[in-house]
């Protein structure tokens, strides 16, 4: 099993950045699709990919659709924490929501009721109370 880092996906998505690296990444995914190798990545790599694309102002709907259909639909690629990540991606309405929701899902999993933060954005979410030190 081979771990994939975020930059592998970015070199796939943006061919013009480095044509050679892009071609090599395509060949890697083709090998995986044919069952010659097994690729594996984590929810954090996909989260970083989503966050980066959002940061570069790419369309959120397109990012959502790409992750749910393209990344998760890739033959020979296993994503750890996929189900959890799918739910967060579906819930988020914009990239900044996505980052907050990742934290909120973790908080909910740990049954945290209070958080310290100066970010008023958290006030719209239920299930815990935001406090300021």
């Amino acid at each position: 099993m081979y771990f994939l880092d975020t930059n592998i996906f970015l070199h796939l998505i943006f061919p013009k950045v480095d044509r050679v690296k892009h071609a090599n990444v395509v060949a890697l995914f083709e090998k995986a699709a044919l069952g010659e190798i097994s690729l594996w990545t984590t929810e954090w790599v996909v989260a970083e990919l989503i966050w980066f694309l959002g940061r570069k102002n790419f369309n959120w709907k397109k990012i959502q659709q790409s992750m749910l259909e393209d990344v998760f639909g890739t033959k020979g690629l296993e994503v750890r924490g996929r189900k959890w990540l799918e739910e967060v991606i579906e819930k988020a309405k914009k990239p900044t929501d996505f980052v907050d929701l990742v934290n909120l899902e973790i908080l909910a999993g740990e049954k945290v009721k209070y958080i310290y933060s100066y970010d008023h954005g958290f006030d719209k979410y239920k299930g815990f109370k935001r406090l300021e030190p």
Partner: protein
């Protein structure tokens, strides 16, 4: 990847399984066939990460920098308000 395929009397062709696997194309999927001069390009709309190629347009990477540099710079940029 190149394959030799045969056109039947009903103008149908069979796609090699390997090609379908790589592109994530399944039975019943729709494909787009386009004419490019003397060539026919068949565009797959199957599932899979290869569909993401070019989907987001271009990413400008300044000379001498890598994609990882851009990711790291974006992280630093996003924390500017927190750690000015």
């Amino acid at each position: 990847m190149s394959y030799l395929v045969t056109v039947t009397s009903k103008r149908q062709i069979t796609l090699p399984k390997e090609l379908m696997d790589v592109l994530g194309v399944e039975k019943g999927d729709k494909l787009i066939a386009r004419k490019h001069g003397k060539k026919i390009a068949i565009e797959a709309k199957g599932k899979g990460v290869l569909n993401m190629i070019g989907k987001f347009g271009d990413l400008h990477v300044p000379k001498g920098k890598t994609i990882d540099d851009l990711v790291n710079e974006a992280v630093l940029e996003s924390t500017k308000n927190v750690f000015p």
